[in-house]
Symmetry: C2
Subunit: 156 residues, 2 copies
């Protein structure tokens, strides 16, 4: 089953897992290459008008999404260490709420038989930051984004 | 009282607060300038043989400490956003345990009358990472490091 599992951890964390019907190297490409990220990240109806992803130690990433009514949402972060399928570490900030930054680890587990599982753990500096993200549509964006990623993976 | 207060938060966090008999701008200098950091960070008896601190968005920091018996300990991280006394955000990794990275916020609160209070919050991706740092001499390094910082501040 390729359902998304989303759990709150302690007071500061969120873990997300999702399986894909594609091998780890292909899934990692969809998570890393800006032109592929632009085709899936975020809920349906949102267009990714700017995506950069320099996934090496000290590199930065940026994302600007335009919603159905034209509103724009900008995000940014930095990478700690060089990103690999085994471990990608990066920060995350929505510029609409500056300074409320979280830290995220991402791992693409190869399941064999052309399948893989993506594990994401995010930790927040306060419980309020964690709950703010969780209560403001995060689940919807993750679930629909991963469905769009299925569609992108099918074309690679 | 300039005692260090260190608390575990939830399963993932550590908060540290410490007052200084010096204004916020001077304390921020001691926290930011590599040649000043080198004079205080870590427990007594440890020499800081390499310190870099490029505290802007995507900038990196590095630290190499040499212990009393000559063993070297290397640390590194990246900055999210440009560091200010009001908010500094950065990652932290001890290269002896690679991949076990934490995320830290630091704020220097001006208390008036030439005094200030440093607030640090660290969040870890797992409780085991948090407890590993807390149980392996972190308190000792922080307490003695801040005492050495008092001595550096007195010379500025």
């Amino acid at each position: 089953m390729n359902d998304v599992d989303i759990q709150n951890d302690g007071a500061h964390g969120i873990t997300i897992t999702r399986e894909f019907d594609h091998p780890a190297d292909k899934v990692f490409r969809a998570l890393s290459e800006p032109e592929l990220i632009a085709r899936w990240i975020g809920p349906r109806g949102y267009e990714n008008v700017e995506v950069t992803n320099d996934s090496q130690h000290g590199g930065t990433w940026t994302l600007v999404q335009r919603g159905p009514d034209g509103d724009e949402f900008a995000f940014r972060g930095v990478f700690h260490g060089d990103a690999t399928p085994e471990l990608t570490l990066r920060t995350f900030e929505w510029l609409g709420l500056p300074g409320h930054v979280s830290f995220e680890s991402l791992r693409v587990e190869d399941l064999g038989d052309g399948r893989s599982r993506v594990h994401t753990t995010s930790v927040f500096l306060t419980q309020a930051d964690r709950d703010g993200i969780r209560d403001n549509g995060m689940d919807h964006g993750v679930i629909e984004g991963y469905q769009r990623m299925d569609e992108v993976l099918a074309t690679l």
